[in-house]
């Protein structure tokens, strides 16, 4: 098995060396495709990071009627907490809200405008899913004790729509790219198969199985995929850290993705996509190009 593997690998290397310029073009194309693929992954990781960031800041304020009694308030809190997509519920007593308001805006001479506390009792509700904000706000409005609901639904809707559209556009782009890359690999390997067709026929006549014939080409595809993947990763690692550096000089608090866990996962993904495309492309190419001599 190892013996065969070494033989197949040396066959693949000979073949790569012989195909010269075509192989370079092929590797370059795969590298570029994988770079675009990686850029898409980085962008979508950042968008989802951004969405989560904003979502965690989104909240709904529920203002209660003054007539609501304490036991009703306690019951409401429990009911709100039990609702799906609700992360936390905090009660803000009207006196505390008023004190907070006065502390925040000390310059306004409130006592001259209003004598009594004009603020209602309220709940501050944090959500775990910003997409649900509008529907939850509508639902909350239906409660007997609720005077009014303040939400950031419009902003949340926009964030959700934005992340959905970028995801759809990304998926289309990546599918097209994957397809194009596959075509290029299939055709590159096809050329090396055609160049060796006579040899392959002779091998078949002396008893080689199709998988024996296929292996060197599979390894060739695998190597093309790995080399393209490594080039793309090197480019992305340097490109992205440069981008992060520049970006944070200008907008320091913007939540960019730069934890190693996520980034390594993305780079690993690129390598996997590169190698699978290489292997699959070679497989297709041999199956469709080698003359059937059995």
């Amino acid at each position: 098995m190892i013996r065969d593997f070494l033989f197949f690998t040396s066959e693949a290397l000979i073949s790569i060396r012989r195909s010269g310029i075509m192989m370079i073009i092929s590797i370059a194309t795969i590298t570029v495709s994988l770079i675009v693929f990686g850029i898409f992954l980085l962008i979508s990781a950042n968008i989802s990071n951004l969405t989560n960031y904003f979502s965690s800041k989104l909240e709904i304020r529920v203002y209660l009627k003054d007539s609501t009694k304490q036991d009703e308030i306690d019951a409401l809190k429990l009911r709100f907490e039990a609702m799906p997509a609700v992360r936390k519920v905090e009660f803000i007593e009207k006196a505390a809200a008023w004190a907070e308001f006065k502390k925040n805006y000390p310059k306004i001479e409130l006592s001259t405008l209003v004598s009594d506390n004009p603020l209602p009792n309220a709940f501050r509700i944090g959500l775990s899913d910003s997409a649900k904000i509008t529907s939850i706000a509508t639902h909350l409005k239906g409660f007997e004790a609720v005077e009014d609901v303040g939400d950031m639904g419009a902003i949340a809707d926009r964030i959700t729509a934005f992340s959905r559209y970028t995801r759809i556009a990304g998926i289309i782009l990546v599918s097209l790219l994957t397809f194009a890359t596959l075509l290029i690999i299939v055709n590159t390997i096809r050329l090396t198969v055609i160049a060796r067709q006579d040899e392959i026929t002779i091998m078949q006549l002396v008893g080689a199985t199709i998988s024996f014939i296929r292996w060197p080409f599979i390894i060739e595809g695998l190597l093309i995929g790995i080399i393209g993947g490594v080039f793309a990763i090197v480019f992305l690692v340097f490109g992205y850290s440069f981008f992060v550096m520049r970006f944070q000089e200008n907008i320091p608090f913007f939540p960019l993705v730069y934890d190693h866990m996520t980034l390594n996962l993305i780079y690993l993904g690129i390598l996997l996509v590169g190698t699978s495309l290489g292997i699959f492309g070679a497989y297709l190419s041999v199956s469709r190009t080698v003359k059937n001599n059995y």
Binding site: R3, D4, F7, E199, I202, L205, G207, A208, T209, Y294
Partner: protein
């Protein structure tokens, strides 16, 4: 062991190369296939290892029908049939040694056995000196001997030789035919397609004569001409 039953072969261009062929060859037999150029000798041999398939009729090897053989099984059939090709079919970018060795590699022989058997067989055909040359650096006769070495290197039970002496001088032809006789003597069925009258008449064996795609004569210890 080899049974050809009412085989007809029509090439895609409509040419009828063989028609109504019936032939039975026992284990360890030695058979000459003679006939004019274009008679259909190579076509018949090629069908025995499924390089060509009959248009109708069937061929059985060890009672296995070749028409019923799954494509997956064909490589294993071919490993049991050594073929000396009329046009050698050598790999131009590989050395003599590699050309012979890769037949064993295809069959997953160990590196040790490959080295040993290739060395033995190259010595047998007298090419051990040219082991590291490329086929283009050898004469026609030497190339033919690489092809012979490759065909017999794994001791297949059947050996098909299509004009094995086609480009050899009389002395070397004689040696090669002696070699084929020797291989036949160690439990190998040998079928030789040839135009070499001198040899057929000298080393007397069964003779099957083909003319215009039909068998016209089949005799034990026959002569090249009736």
């Amino acid at each position: 062991m080899i049974r050809v039953k009412n085989v007809r072969k029509v090439y895609p261009n409509g040419f009828v190369a063989l028609d109504g062929i019936d032939l039975h060859i026992s284990r360890n037999e030695f058979v000459y296939l003679v006939g004019q150029s274009g008679a259909g000798k190579s076509t018949l041999l090629n069908m025995l290892y499924k390089a060509e398939t009959p248009t109708s009729g069937d061929i059985y090897i060890d009672n296995i029908s070749l028409s019923g053989l799954a494509p997956k099984q064909v490589p294993y059939l071919r490993r049991s049939i050594g073929v000396i090709f009329q046009d050698y079919k050598l790999l131009p970018r590989r050395t003599v040694y590699e050309n012979v060795a890769f037949a064993l590699r295809v069959m997953h022989f160990s590196r040790f056995r490959i080295r040993r058997q290739v060395a033995q067989v190259l010595e047998l055909v007298g090419l051990q000196q040219k082991m590291h040359n490329y086929p283009s650096e050898l004469s026609g006769g030497e190339q033919q001997r690489i092809c012979i070495a490759r065909a017999i290197v794994n001791n297949p039970p059947v050996l098909l030789a299509d004009e094995p002496t086609g480009s050899l001088d009389p002395d070397t032809s004689w040696e090669i035919m002696q070699l084929l006789s020797k291989i036949n003597a160690r439990q190998t069925t040998v079928i030789v397609a040839t135009h070499n009258k001198a040899i057929v008449d000298d080393i007397r064996k069964r003779v099957v004569a083909v003319e215009n795609g039909r068998i016209i004569r089949d005799e034990q210890l026959g002569l090249y001409n009736p």
